[in-house]
Symmetry: D2
């Protein structure tokens, strides 16, 4: 008997359980606690999955870019992810019972991974999974793969739809990539970095609008704590701040007091809640790198296959999904705490 994952569920009232390996039959999930009567918008889910997969450009980028086949993501798959719903819906409408769904996996070029069987890719979770489990899936990232975020996007998009019926809207977009803020400059930079076989980081900004004053719990489940936890659980995310955030380090109370970051004491004040999160450059680069081998020696490797130059460009769909799950759960907690 060996180690097992202790918890693949997030949420208290609206609970999302994720399952599936990147190279297994399917990835999927169970969304439990969604009220009955919601007509699930499957087109919207397809659209969010396309954004996540790099099959749609981030907002602000010229459409012809994608048409030219360049796309921001070199990893964009030709075929869209297809979601099959197994329960919880009748004629497309939620029953109030658990909604289970799957996205079947397709061939994913295991030969690209074969060469990496005896080496820990720098910046990847190969080393830490080996340390934790004493074993790792040589065919790819398994549960650590970014593929798992597809299930998050399905569940989060349903939660977002519920939120919109309550008047709450969540919108994330790329603020910076490689230090640049203008789409045209980002596009140029990405071509350069791609040619160099390297990768760049970026920042995603997100705004939650229409949040009722009173959302968020006062102590350990503050609005910002729960959103931070959800967003920091996304692969490659390295930081989170909201409102005045890290910029507030050199500001005075008299300046900041009149401003609103959207929450005071962990509870929304009815204004927009705005936050930023930062994604590191993807560690999968084609430049040669020094790497640790499983036998303790060191070697130089090059990682082949399709890789993103900048994962931040695909991240907004996942940031929106995780934020929606966290915020919807807190709104339901607020209702649970209002007994009359």
């Amino acid at each position: 008997m060996r180690y097992y994952q202790t918890m693949n569920t997030i949420g208290r009232i609206l609970r999302f359980t994720s399952f599936g390996e990147s190279h297994g039959v399917a990835v999927g999930g169970v969304l439990d606690g969604l009220p009955a009567g919601l007509r699930v918008d499957k087109e919207r889910i397809r659209h969010a999955l396309a954004r996540r997969a790099g099959r749609l450009l981030p907002a602000g980028f010229p459409a012809e870019e994608y048409e030219n086949g360049l796309a921001m993501s070199q990893r964009a798959c030709k075929e869209p992810d297809e979601v099959e719903f197994l329960s919880g819906l009748w004629d497309g409408v939620s029953l109030g019972t658990p909604i289970a769904f799957i996205i079947r996996n397709r061939d994913s070029r295991p030969e690209d991974y074969a060469a990496l069987q005896d080496v820990f890719r720098p910046g990847h979770a190969d080393l830490t999974y080996q340390a934790k489990y004493g074993v790792r899936d040589p065919r790819g990232g398994g549960r650590a793969s970014a593929r798992e975020t597809a299930a998050r996007v399905v569940a989060g998009t349903i939660a977002a739809q519920w939120l919109e019926m309550q008047g709450v809207k969540i919108s994330a977009r790329v603020l910076e990539a490689g230090g640049e803020t203008e789409p045209e400059r980002i596009r140029t930079l990405i071509r350069e970095v791609q040619t160099a076989g390297d990768s760049i980081g970026g920042i995603v900004g997100c705004t939650v609008s229409g949040l009722p004053a009173g959302t968020g719990e006062p102590l350990f489940d503050k609005l910002q704590a729960r959103i931070a936890c959800a967003v920091m659980s996304i692969n490659a995310c390295k930081g989170f701040d909201y409102g005045s955030g890290f910029e507030g380090r050199s500001r005075r109370g008299s300046e900041l007091n009149p401003q609103s970051g959207g929450a005071l004491g962990g509870i929304s004040d009815g204004n927009n809640f705005t936050f930023r999160c930062v994604f590191k450059p993807t560690p999968s680069i084609s430049l040669p790198q020094e790497a640790l081998c499983t036998d303790g020696s060191r070697t130089s490797i090059r990682i082949h296959g399709r890789h993103d130059v900048c994962v931040a460009l695909r991240a907004p769909a996942v940031v929106e999904a995780m934020t929606a799950l966290a915020v919807a759960d807190l709104m339901m907690l607020q209702r649970a705490g209002s007994p009359n």
Copy 2:
């Protein structure tokens, strides 16, 4: 019947439940899930409480400063907080059963608050508590008061002691206050700001060393996600990043891959885990401010009483405590997941 707080507990295996109002009989907590056989170091708890209370200077500040009675915190109380343990210890050693403790409250100048009964202090939780609960404690912050963090410090210091027996050490310190990084310059700035009746923000840095490789759960309970959640639940904290953090926004994969932020895929790699968190300037300032009244009108107020110029100076003790609770819980989860 009116609204209630839905959750005053944090942790899965090591669970801390906090209770108590700032102007009630006592604040306190119950720490459940601590192994038997730990001799609780009460002197260490006293020391951590003194740091939290502003009765000890942050590391790097000259000792005479405190001796001179100036102290960083104008709010420093004369008398130390006294902890009474009610259960879970026998002859000072943990029994493996719930450890309950209280710190009784002392007189806290309610007359300072009387004038503020009909006004929402800017930047405080007055407004959001009113929105959430439809009622708020006019005598002070109640559960929203920073006083509640005393209970966190007691529980977190016990967790830190357990961690040290496992070889894990957590150390937080002030990195910046008001944009300054040198103690001498910070001291000068604080005097100026205090004279001006204003306040400043700051950054606290924290290092977790000795963490066994393999700590942290792969999906929603990543090391960084759980620490972020715990730290972002501290009053006035506005942001969190780790490893390359927000600085990584303009770096390349080839630069960052060889570095270690202490975790990959949400799991510690055995290196130091380093993070930063930012605290906003305390909203309690003596400068006149425009404020919203409970009847919807606006007024100009001045907040009297003892106030911190920079809460970040007192925050390291609380940051260490919350980090210890999060990390100890994850280490126990890792053991729970290793069935043999």
Copy 3:
């Protein structure tokens, strides 16, 4: 927006989430927290599902009975339930990640239910679901249907397999049906009752052997409390007792002290843990009954279709499954609580 189910998950460390409606695409579940390295015995699962479905006779009943096509259950389906595993297994061996599985539904004669659309079947959950949700599935029981127990049997059989590797064996059997204890007399009684269009109750006994001394938590998670909770969550179960149970009402301490019911203070003592549970007669009978209509009037109804004369005969597979989930979770909790 309407009511939703708040919790379809059981367990703390080994967690089972159930999903699926009786007349939807599939029923299924996610078993999270199972250690890696277990070769899942699919033949064993098939066998347990056949017992649950009434396709195998309870132990002690002559085999030719089933061969004759009489079977104990008139509801026995011709085709077996087929389980599809979606994740958590590689080459049939558990990966330590969530195991998701489904059993697709087949045609189930919705015409049998059409006539009952405007009536609350006596003894069924029709009335209470209507009261709780304000709506109910006219095609059948939905989540309240006994079909949902198929998912419990799959998960519980995997848990039972893990338990056997720890030396723990769980075995349930029919003790009584309609007050009779001998198979031959039960068989005769069932034929009579079936002819009369009525139904009978029964008692299932279960023994957990090989349980390590020390299993079970002292306070709210006592061994007997957790098993009782799991077993009492089975449809039609009306009571539970263990050890001396209800018979101990008229015994003396001096008599009972030397005996062992398998647990003291909620913790196993290493002896067999034996319990009983009672199942009421299935409320689906073909005799005419008075029933409440949705418009408040009363009518006389007859329930057609295939019905069990005695659900207790099929219950042992479900009792074993729920007991296995509860006991495996407690054994893992015991390990979580033993930090070295």
Copy 4:
């Protein structure tokens, strides 16, 4: 480092955390999730504690019995338990924040226990605690002591008060002791058994009335499952049934369908929910008994000190308390699941 208790909390929305050892400073608890605005009736709590302590007779027993100083319980203390509230109340009214309370312990004749240091008392948890923890408190039962139920009674009585404001009433009483049902005969039997140095079991019945139709969750948190779990966690409780219960074993569907046990499909139907639970004879008897010694040998012991002849007589207060905690939690879950 040694074993620890993994969970001293019960409930999802209304959560009760228990702490304290029988021979430590105090026993107590934290009740989290109670709505604001409830005036806590301290006299009612005192009365419930007196019933639990055997200082008040069970309903149906002649008052002079107690006046005569005989009392049902030989263990009845002279002085009542005094509850100190530490948080969550202001001027006696709940604030919606965690209610912490303690009952300080008094001297409890540790000399009675000294002689039993090297022996496992038959029928007690001595042996199983030793097996689980590798250590046990030689001064008494520690957390396993019935003293811990005092904290349950305080929390449960507050929950019961909240329930009554919702129109729900819980009432438990002794149905049988030693097989007798008439108070006069029970009294005679108790004197005989006491003289003989033995003990007897008994049955407590409980009725929950006024429960709104729709209370209870359909799957694993059925009304009967959650109440069974709560009640079966009481020391010495060996069984639970509701409605037709174990008597239904030999009844027919046509007989039982028109009856209501108060719940169908795990959800209350608005009728009274009635259940029974059975308590074994207390294992503390003064008759000589064979016992296992810590060194593996066997000896004959007599247990001195004050002992109950029949714990069932004191149990109704605890049964009511645990039922109230379970039912109030389910009612709040039902509200959490009704988002509008």
